[in-house]
Point group: C2
Chain length 147, copies 2
DNA sequence: ATGATATTGATAATCAATATCAAGTAGGGG
DNA sequence: CCCCTACTTGATATTGATTATCAATATCAT
């Protein structure tokens, strides 16, 4: 995969902001896209390290913020104050199910939510940016293991 | 208010766990209940300080964990990795709307969610502990201010 | 190519939350 | 009612994730 599409989105975001397109940023973006599951900043750092050990910790953190700004990634906040990042481009999954036992996160698709959320938005005069539904509990696998 | 009910719940929780009912714990619980809005651990610490400056930071943190265990409080995870605590006893609001501008949090009541969540739970063989719906955007007031 | 400006990586700094530990209590059994 | 043991406390040190700092370097419009 070449991620041409996403790289273009990122590039134009950077240009629009007067920022620069660097090798590090592109490498980090590619590594991020290559992993389908959710990543913490540190997970991504380790992934990037394998390709290019010269890239620093801070750069990964910084680039993740940029990716969020470019709407290529979004942050999700899990238990224990951990932050994960997920792909956003071409996605619109804001519903997650997290297993409090093994930590696995499943993305859900609950179309009915959208209309509910819209209704609430109108009722409260809120201008919605985003929403997130998070279910937490014990996943099927862990439920079996602990039985 | 005497919070008799909640104190009893806490007491029996402690006994059940072989833990002790101390003045500090009760004071912290009362302070927590006295404030209707969401609190960070530090907010609560400052509140408790006013009544009893001798109570330490760590004790507040520890007691909040206990309150969660006793189902009197629950944690909510906001942007920037901040954790807040909200009342849980007699509550069942898991729906929040957070203004990304002023930071205000509004508790919602969306009864339809419950059945949606139940459906998903069944579909995935998940054993649900909790769920949280978080809407984020600009609240009516801030929307007006920035117009 | 040049130069203004953004970027990088190493390091130090920050912050909330947690672990440690000696001294102080609670509260059940006698 | 007192003892004893185990739980608690508060001060402090520690952790771990994220950010700030800063000199050296790279980008890109011209």
């Amino acid at each position: 995969m070449d991620y041409k599409e996403e790289i273009k989105v990122f590039s134009s975001f950077l240009k629009r902001r007067g920022l620069k397109h660097t090798d590090q940023r592109e490498e980090i973006l590619k590594a991020f896209l290559s992993e389908e599951k959710h990543l913490t900043a540190d997970d991504l750092y380790l992934l990037v390290m394998k390709k290019n050990p010269a890239i620093g910790h801070a750069t990964v953190y910084r680039t993740l913020k940029l990716l969020c700004g470019a709407n290529l990634a979004s942050e999700i906040y899990l238990k224990d104050n951990r932050v994960c990042y997920e792909h956003k481009y071409g996605h619109r999954a804001h519903e997650h199910m997290v297993c409090v036992h093994c930590g696995k996160t499943i993305e859900l698709r609950i179309p009915e939510i959208e209309s509910l959320v819209k209704k609430v938005e109108k009722e409260h005069g809120f201008k919605l940016n985003d929403y997130a539904l998070k279910l937490s509990g014990i996943c099927a696998k862990c439920g079996k293991d602990t039985k």
